[in-house]
């Protein structure tokens, strides 16, 4: 077996590839990721996280997958990734509830490896910010400095053990997009405002909230 890094060369896929991915490659769970990594196998791009068609966790689940310092970094990071546009009425990631989604989704069984990568990414950003301005990433007051630190992470494909900043940033973005553009039932896309701003029609009838008696 070759040893291609887990997120190398993430492809842009179109519908037919996606159909296959939807039933296959994209369905890689975090457990899969961990399993493959533990064996040193190359893996298809982990386009998804989680361990099955689970509902959003509500109660009785491990609390606080991210400690406060990490959350203080991840919040600003998400807004760098998805800043929104007030002229369009497009909320930023945090305004859309993506941080809450990320926290909720990260409690899913089997997510530990991905969560750990996100934690390492948060620490990496903090270290970079310390080097740049002597403060943690979340304390950078200049948006340009935040953007610079994230850009450095995006360009850094050198492995640090099993952690690769650029790949961790990409998986964070993919998870963030779930919280930004997914059904509000899952905790992100608060009040469906991202869909409204982008003129994305609400799915009819069979939304999770419809089925489970919640709110659209």
């Amino acid at each position: 077996m070759t040893a291609t890094p887990p997120f190398a060369n993430l492809p842009a896929v179109k519908r037919r590839t996606f159909l296959a991915a939807g039933v296959g490659a994209a369905a890689l769970s975090a457990g899969t990721w961990a399993w493959l990594r533990s064996r040193g196998y190359p893996v298809d791009p982990p386009l998804s996280v989680g361990g099955g068609p689970e509902r959003p966790p509500t109660a009785g689940l491990p609390s606080a997958p991210y400690p406060a310092p990490a959350l203080a970094t991840l919040g600003p990071l998400l807004d760098v990734l998805l800043p929104g546009d007030s002229a369009l009425g497009l909320p930023s990631a945090r305004e859309a509830g993506v941080l809450e989604f990320l926290t909720s989704a990260s409690r899913a069984p089997g997510l530990t490896p991905i969560r750990n990568d996100i934690l390492k990414l948060a620490r990496f950003l903090d270290q970079q910010a310390q080097g740049l301005a002597g403060v943690r990433f979340g304390q950078l007051s200049d948006p340009a400095q935040q953007a610079r630190v994230v850009a450095e992470a995006a360009a850094d494909a050198s492995p640090r053990g099993r952690f690769i900043p650029a790949q961790a940033l990409e998986v964070t973005l993919r998870l963030a997009l779930e919280g930004y553009l997914g059904h509000p039932f899952h905790g992100g896309n608060r009040d469906g405002k991202v869909w409204q701003a982008l003129a994305i029609p609400m799915p009819m009838d069979r939304s999770p909230a419809h089925v489970h008696g919640g709110h659209e």
């Binding site: 369905a27 769970s29 899969t32 953007a147």
Partner: protein, 552 residues
């Protein structure tokens, strides 16, 4: 191990290949057991939720439970879930898009009607289009197919209209018809495995929710076997469907006939005795099951006396090109048309099904559709610019452009994947599934050059049409690519046991009472999606099997 159960026929798999056999036999009074590896979903499970349905392990299990191993021409060997279609009652028909085109007569004469074909192991089918035509019509009636044949001058012969009126298509389809005609092309309504009128029982008419591909249908309008054939089989009282049952091997008697199968479920290992075993678990997994079914008389696997099981794997050759219809480039009237939310564009073309002078002379089918409405997936496409990750304001601009400024139109092309000695399924020497059984190793090696040539013709024609329709940002995503959810060839039918696995009647050359009815039995992929043909062939084999059973 519990005491053996006893049925007349046991069927492995409940999708396009297994369900037709179950229905035919059960309705004739034959006692049938269908063993399905995956769960049984109900309509209540089919949410309109991209995260739950498309981005988690809804259709197939996690890789750690069921790995496939893909070996490439470049020497790479990768563990992946590619090659799984769906593990659930109804199989891949539950999440299919349901584009139901028939093969053309020349598809059945692949080796003799085209050429030269050096490097390919293609054979002719052991029967012609005229044999399968009545079964296509049967599928159309039994599962429900809608369409309008009158608009396709290249359609193979048929005896009458579709049983259901075509789905209502987007008004832009009329513009495609007009522009296509100006280019000398002949767009026609895409036939769909979707019913446009409720059956008065459990199946409703299509509600135009826009989520066919990758989703289950919440009103049973999509003609999955779960919605159509399985209920009919069960209604007879002669068919039992058991989900969550993984068949480990076909069991053999000393007289050379199969005695049944061994399977495992949550409660342990079980044996089913049966007069006939029907294997319909997809081309990859059916080959794997036969290779796993070694015995004293079949040391290399069942039906594998000549080493043919797993050989001649053909996926479907994929071409994809997209264009963007930017609203402000069109007249106000056309902008209004484009903003219409009707989900189905529903136009297909077979003008280049034959492609003289290109490769072996074979093209295929291309059709136009709105790009899949899943927003997360669409957004992911925007996060890459070559090797650079796109985020921040640049991603916001892309999102706004993609969703607000126009609509993305896709041309999807299906063409032949010629069998070669370098594409095949074997048992992996290392990887195992959660039951400890060797996983399938899928070798996708050297492909025949005609595959790409035929695909290129379709992509070029599609791009030309997109340009004429006023699309910009025309982008080719795939030429000669792979469609993993369409699989064929690994247990192909033929008259010569040295080059095929199953007889024209569908049973193994080596074993009279073991049949293969999934895509593995098809000798070639053709220039269309194959689910329709798999169903038709399964009905054909079932009729023959029933006649045999009646004789005995």
């Amino acid at each position: 191990m519990s005491a053996p159960e006893r049925f007349d026929v046991v069927i492995v798999g409940s999708g396009a290949g297994g369900a037709p056999v179950a229905q035919v036999l059960a309705q004739a009074g034959v006692r049938v057991l269908v063993l399905e590896k995956g769960p049984r979903h109900g309509v209540q499970d089919f949410l309109h939720d991209e995260i739950s349905i498309c981005r988690r392990n809804f259709w197939v299990p996690p890789l750690e439970d069921d790995p496939h191993v893909v070996a490439r021409e470049d020497g790479s060997i990768t563990q992946t879930t590619a090659g799984w279609i769906a593990q659930c009652v109804g199989g891949g028909t539950v999440h299919m898009s349901g584009f139901f085109f028939r093969l053309h007569p020349n598809d059945f004469r692949l080796a003799s009607a085209y050429g030269p074909m050096d490097g390919s192991t293609a054979i002719d089918w052991p029967f012609g289009y005229e044999t399968l035509a009545p079964y296509y019509e049967r599928v159309e009636r039994e599962v429900g197919v809608s369409g309008d044949v009158s608009k396709n001058p290249f359609a193979p012969p048929r005896s009458g209209p579709f049983p259901y009126l075509p789905v209502v298509n987007h008004p832009f389809a009329s513009h495609i018809d007009k522009v296509g005609a100006e280019l000398g092309l002949h767009p026609f309504p895409t036939p769909r495995a979707i019913i446009t009128q409720g059956d008065g029982h459990d199946r409703g008419a299509c509600v135009y929710c826009s989520l066919c591909g990758s989703y289950g249908c919440e009103v049973n309008a999509k003609s999955s076997t779960l919605a159509s054939l399985i209920p009919k089989a069960e209604a007879t009282g002669n068919c039992v469907v058991k989900p969550g049952c993984m068949v480990k091997r076909v069991l053999m008697r000393t007289d050379g006939r199969a005695s049944g199968v061994e399977y495992v479920d949550d409660t342990g290992v079980h044996t089913v005795e049966a007069d006939v075993v029907v294997v319909a678990a997809t081309a990859i997994e059916s080959a794997r099951l036969l290779l796993l079914s070694t015995s004293q008389g079949h040391p290399a696997g069942l039906g594998n006396r000549h080493g043919q099981v797993g050989q001649n794997l053909c996926l479907s050759t994929l071409g994809q090109v997209t264009g963007f219809l930017q609203y402000d480039r069109f007249s106000p009237e056309m902008q209004e048309v484009l903003r219409n939310s009707a989900p189905f564009l529903g136009r297909a073309l077979q003008d280049r099904y034959e492609a003289p002078g290109v490769g072996i002379g074979k093209g295929g089918t291309f059709h136009l559709l709105w790009s899949h409405p899943n927003p997360i997936h669409a957004a992911e496409q925007l996060t890459r610019d070559g090797g650079r990750l796109v985020y921040g304001e640049e991603l916001t601009r892309r999102l706004s452009h993609r969703f607000r400024d126009g609509r993305e139109l896709e041309v999807e092309c299906f063409s032949e994947w010629l069998p070669t000695p370098d594409c095949h399924v074997t048992l992996d020497p290392d990887a195992t599934d959660r039951f400890g059984l060797p996983a399938a190793r899928i070798t996708v090696g050297r492909r025949h050059p005609s595959d790409k040539a035929g695909s290129q013709v379709l992509v070029d024609e599609g791009a030309r049409l997109l340009g004429a329709l006023g699309a910009t940002e025309i982008t080719t995503h795939s030429v000669g690519g792979e469609t993993w959810v369409l699989q064929h060839g690994t247990c192909r039918m033929g008259t010569d046991p040295r080059t095929s696995v199953t007889t024209p009647q569908g049973n193994l050359h080596d074993v009279e009472n073991v049949y293969v009815t999934c895509g593995g039995a098809l000798p070639s992929s053709g220039g269309v999606p194959s689910t329709f043909t798999i169903m038709a062939n399964a009905f054909r084999v079932a009729d023959g099997l029933l006649a045999r059973l009646k004789k005995t």
